[in-house]
Structure formats: structure tokens, C-alpha cells
Symmetry: C2
Subunit: 213 residues, 2 copies
């Protein structure tokens, strides 16, 4: 790609958002970041990756899940240190995301990247969703679980992602106006959805400087 473009992808669990992100990165020949962000953030912060992984696991499942369920549900309350370390993790992660976005075109999945890069004119934000039955099927296949487990995992993971996003941004996870473009994968299927998002990115690039409607 000649012009720099940063694509951020928010996604429902089991929607196919990760697969779409990877295929889109390949189609546009740009970098792709998802879990890799943790290692990068650790490296840049100078902290041990082990410490980081532990904190990450708590941020992405423990703490944010606790937010979504209410701490009392888990019979515990967040300590000052809990919140501090998760907030610190978020700051390191934000730095890593900003550094990547400065380097060149890329796709970043999750981790509030759309909010962190909100002032970057090269940034376009997407939200990927899918029909419930398709999501359940995808989760059964990827996680090797039963229908009931898939449904529970789907609900809990979305709650956790929403809690994390709503806590660290001034926007609402999954709400259309939080993103430039949201799409239901079930309409066109994964590959055609990738091609369609690609055409959106190309249209936008061909228009710069942007025309406002």
C-alpha cells in the first residue's frame, strides 16, 4: 500500500473478526497485530514479559470480567494495586500501539486501538459481528466445546470485552457510532466480507483529502 492506513478491528467473540483481520492484512499486504501486542509492550516497557503476561491475563479476563459481573459476584473487591497494575498495563499497551501506528500501515485487533488512535487521520475503525448460530458454530470448532459451553463462553467474553472497552474509552463497545463501519459477516461470508472491507479502505484512500458528508 502506498498510503499509510491503520485499521482497527473490534469484534464479537466467535464472529470471525480475527480471521477477517488476518485475511485483510494479507490482501492489503500490511502488518497484523493481535496478541503480539503484549510481547511488544513488554519489550518496550523494559518489564519482564512474564510479569506482563500475568497482568495481561488479568486485564483481559480477570479484571475486566470482574468489571462486567461486579466484584461482589466473585466475592472479592479490586485492590488499589490491582487497578494500578492494569491501568499501567493499558498505558504501556497504548504506547506500543502508538509506536506501531507511527511505523506504517497495519491492522490492530481489539485492545481499544480505535480509541488510542482516535486522533490519527490514517485510522479507520471496524466492528465485526455475526449471526448467533454462526458464532456458536465457530466457537464449538475453535474451542472444542459443547453448544451450551459455547453459548456461555460467547456471552462472558463479549461482556468482558465490553467492560474493558467501556472502562478505558469514552465510547460504548459494539455500538455502531463507536466505529466507522460495522458489518454482519453472515450476509456475504468471510472472504467476500474481507473483499468488501478492502474496497472501503481503497475508496477512502482514493479520496484523500477526505470529503465530508
Amino acid at each position: 500500500m502506498d498510503d499509510k492506513v491503520i485499521l482497527t478491528i473490534g469484534r464479537q467473540f466467535g464472529s470471525g473478526g480475527r480471521e477477517i483481520g488476518q485475511k485483510l492484512a494479507k490482501a492489503l499486504d500490511i502488518a497484523y497485530y493481535d496478541k503480539e501486542l503484549m510481547a511488544l509492550a513488554a519489550k518496550e516497557s523494559g518489564l519482564s514479559e512474564e510479569f506482563f503476561k500475568k497482568a495481561d491475563e488479568r486485564a483481559s479476563s480477570g479484571l475486566s470480567y470482574a468489571f462486567s459481573m461486579g466484584y461482589s459476584y466473585m466475592g472479592m473487591f479490586p485492590t488499589y494495586a490491582d487497578v494500578l497494575s492494569n491501568d499501567r498495563l493499558f498505558l504501556y499497551q497504548s504506547d506500543a500501539i502508538r509506536n506501531l501506528a507511527e511505523k506504517g500501515s497495519c491492522i490492530i485487533v481489539g485492545r481499544c486501538a480505535d480509541y488510542i488512535l482516535r486522533d490519527d487521520p490514517a485510522c479507520l475503525s471496524f466492528f465485526i459481528h455475526n449471526k448467533k448460530e454462526n458464532r456458536i458454530q465457530r466457537i464449538i470448532e475453535s474451542e472444542g466445546v459443547t453448544v451450551e459451553q459455547a453459548e456461555e463462553l460467547m456471552t462472558k467474553t463479549d461482556k468482558s470485552r465490553a467492560a474493558y472497552y467501556n472502562y478505558y474509552t469514552n465510547k460504548e463497545w459494539g455500538v455502531a457510532s463507536s466505529y466507522n463501519f460495522s458489518i454482519d459477516v453472515s450476509v456475504l461470508g468471510v472472504d467476500e466480507t474481507v473483499a468488501f472491507i478492502k474496497s472501503f479502505v481503497e475508496k477512502k484512500l482514493s479520496q484523500r483529502p477526505p470529503h465530508f458528508g
Copy 2:
């Protein structure tokens, strides 16, 4: 258009959703319905249009606004007759929408058409949104109001639309997963957004029977 397609459009107030709907209908050479639905519903129900218009105004501003604000805020409570007449209006309107959808391809703006036609395989649902500053500018121009008035009108009308939609459907207004496709008009501008949505519709039609992702 050879294949039948029913496009429903939900939209933030001032987003340009109406303009996009009209231009899209022209580009696809299909019918367009917005406020016209009221007259049709009146005609089909055999009730006087005058009675209908009165009820419509209450449904689209009075009652639903009251829902969004809470009746107590307005110092009044809905009577059984209020709710009855609004529910009846919704049923007549639903019949009118279903009749239109049966007749042939069309675009229907607002009025929970996506929910009413949820089992129609020819139906695709869209949600149109826009940057706040663009919306304010559009409202100032279309309504001839000040910035402050535009901002108030924007917030109140969206609240009213959300309350109406959330009351009559099992979905949430403005939430990405309630629609097949949501787009921020400010990225491409009105005309290119119309062309882009048209390409989505054409892709979908070329794929039938649908491929699920």
C-alpha cells in the same frame, strides 16, 4: 433490479440517512418510503388520516419521547388509551410495511421495518450515523436553528427513536449487531456512501443463495 430486495434504514437524526435512502432508491431504481407510510397505513386501516396523523405525531414524538424521558419527568402518566392507540398504530403500520415488502423492491426508512421484516430473506438492514459536527451542521441547515438548538434536537430525537425502537422490537437501536451493516457517513461523504451501500446490495444479490461465514 431483477431480484427483489428490501432495504431498511435506521439512522441518527441529522446523519444524512434520509438523503442516502432517497439517493440509494434512485440509484437502484426502487421505491422509497418514509413518512408516506403513515398515509398508506391510514388508507389500508380504513381509519381517517387525520386520526392517524395525530396518533403518529404522538407515537413518533409524544409517547416515545415520554418513554425516553420517563413519564414522571413530564408530570404525567400514560393512560391505557394512549398505549392502546399507539400499539394499534404500530400494528397498522406493520401491516402497511409488510404489504409494501410483498409488492416489490423498496427502501423503508425508520419505523422498526428491520424488525417487522426480520423473517424476510430479501431484507437487508442498515444503520446510518455521522460525526457529531457534521450532524449539527446538517440540522442547522435543515431546521434553521442555532447550534445549541440543533444539539438539543439531535439528542432528543435520537432518544425518542431509540425508545420507540427498543419498545417495539427485541433489539437495541444504534447497536451494530441490530443491523447487517452500519456506516459513518463522514468517511466517504454522502454520494460515495450511497455507491458503497449499492455495491454491498449488488454483492449480496450476486451471491444468492447466500453463503454463510
